[in-house]
């Protein structure tokens, strides 16, 4: 299983773009990269998933370089409501084996 490393915490201000990078040096050929968001006292919520290059949806963008050893979740113009924990998951064997680590605690201030 590919191990992931992401910052424990990040700080930002409203209106800024936030980039959270996840390292996964031993990612396998079939592995997908998935990001989840979790607010206090709630279950995680799916944000975005990708395999290579760039994926964009209405909430975020996911940038994956050619070597796929890292990925960056980009949140455009964050607001206070984006304060949450963000998890990076890597794997292809399925959710039965993917690990939610401690994630990155993003704090957005006014």
């Amino acid at each position: 299983l590919a191990k992931t490393t992401q910052p424990i915490s990040m700080d930002s201000y409203e209106g800024q773009e936030v980039n959270i990078t996840c390292s996964h040096n031993n990612i396998a050929t079939n592995d997908y990269i998935t990001w989840y968001q979790q607010f206090p006292s709630q279950g995680p919520r799916f944000i975005i998933q990708g395999y290579k290059t760039k994926v964009t949806n209405e909430v975020a963008s996911l940038f994956i370089p050619a070597d796929r050893k890292s990925s960056t979740l980009s949140l455009p113009r964050v607001s206070l409501s984006d304060t949450a924990v963000y998890y990076c998951l890597v794997g292809a064997e399925g959710y039965s084996t993917l690990t939610f680590g401690k994630g990155t605690m993003l704090l957005v201030s006014p």
Binding site: T34, S41, P44, F46, Y95, S96
Partner: protein, 113 residues
């Protein structure tokens, strides 16, 4: 569309008591999961199911049991509750096992005293 529904939301147990956490999903998903989340930590998989009648252990199955008699329901049974089982429990479901979205319930906060 209710998604994944968990009951109860809160429960206090005494050491040695047993209880069942209920989980139901209305999305016709084959795959269902139970996680626990301790304060300040990530989620750990307890058990999962790939379909009615089929369950398997996750990372931390000791002290728990599950059953899957229908596609919709995936109850988690705690036998002989211990303080170490104090946690928030999340049930989730997915349409596929390998990709796509995990849909989570709102969680059940359990305290064992």
């Amino acid at each position: 569309n209710a998604g994944v529904t968990q009951t109860p939301k809160f429960r206090i147990l005494k050491i040695g008591q047993s209880m069942t956490l209920q989980c139901a999903q209305d999305m016709n998903h084959n795959y269902m999961y139970w996680y626990r989340q301790d304060p300040g930590m990530g989620l750990k998989l307890i058990y999962y199911s790939v379909g009615a009648g089929i369950t398997d252990k996750g990372e931390v199955p000791n002290g728990y049991n599950v059953s899957r008699s229908t596609t919709e329901d995936f109850p988690l049974r705690l036998e002989l509750a211990a303080p170490s089982q104090t946690s928030v429990y999340f049930c989730a479901s997915s349409q596929t096992l390998n990709t796509g979205e995990l849909f989570f319930g709102e969680g059940s906060r359990l305290t064992v005293l």
